[in-house]
């Protein structure tokens, strides 16, 4: 299992490689990148703030929950970046391997969906005319 929170650019290929296994023919990977638009507004850049010890702990818990739900899971790799990110930068990579492909899609989607609900990382979008903490208000 590879779990990491980093303020450096993420090496996507290395994360995928960490998820590969000779016993598992299917690797599914989700890569979250910084979009140039959000709900119709032009985004200039993003700032990710993290609560590092809890973020790493919760990333690991999410990976462990996936392993419980999919005992066939062979490898799990999750790396999240924090700090200031420019358009096109990679913010998060989740990669999993399973013997058969349907499980790899389901487990990867579970991990990114759950990560977004529980991992203490906060995204502030910067526009040309201001900033907003994403999803902070109803």
């Amino acid at each position: 299992m590879l779990i990491d929170l980093t303020d450096q650019p993420i090496d996507v290929a290395a994360v995928l490689q960490a998820a590969e296994s000779d016993e598992a023919g299917a690797v599914n990977a989700f890569v979250g990148t910084v979009r140039n638009r959000s709900e119709g507004r032009r985004v200039v850049r993003l700032h990710y703030e993290a609560y590092p010890p809890m973020a790493v702990h919760q990333l690991r818990r999410v990976a462990e929950m996936a392993q419980e739900k999919w005992p066939v899971l062979r490898q799990v790799a999750v790396v999240h970046r924090h700090g200031t990110l420019e358009i096109g930068d990679v913010a998060v990579v989740v990669a999993v391997s399973t013997p058969h492909r349907a499980d790899s899609f389901a487990a990867c989607q579970f991990i990114i969906d759950t990560l977004k609900e529980v991992v203490p990382i906060w995204k502030k979008e910067e526009y040309e005319d201001g900033t907003v903490w994403v999803s902070a208000h109803p």
């Binding site: 702990h57 999240h80 529980v118 991992v119 203490p120 990382i121 906060w122 903490w133 902070a136 208000h137």
Partner: protein, 79 residues
Amino acid sequence: MINVALFGIAREIVGQSSLALPAGEGQSVGELLATLRTRYPELGRLRSLAVAVNNEYAGAEVALHERDEIALIPPVSGG
């Protein structure tokens, strides 16, 4: 005293990255949240507000101790 770490919009609302409170103001997670919402009404307008104790989300009834690592968790938006 208990120390509460603050992040994201909660840090901006309070205007500092941690708060020290007399233990009496937050003997439980629920009491801590009530105290903070009274003192900083803008916290009450957030979509959610949770408390983490030693890196785990804690329910309202959990008791707080001076040595706990306590953090206020506004709505997360990673990924």
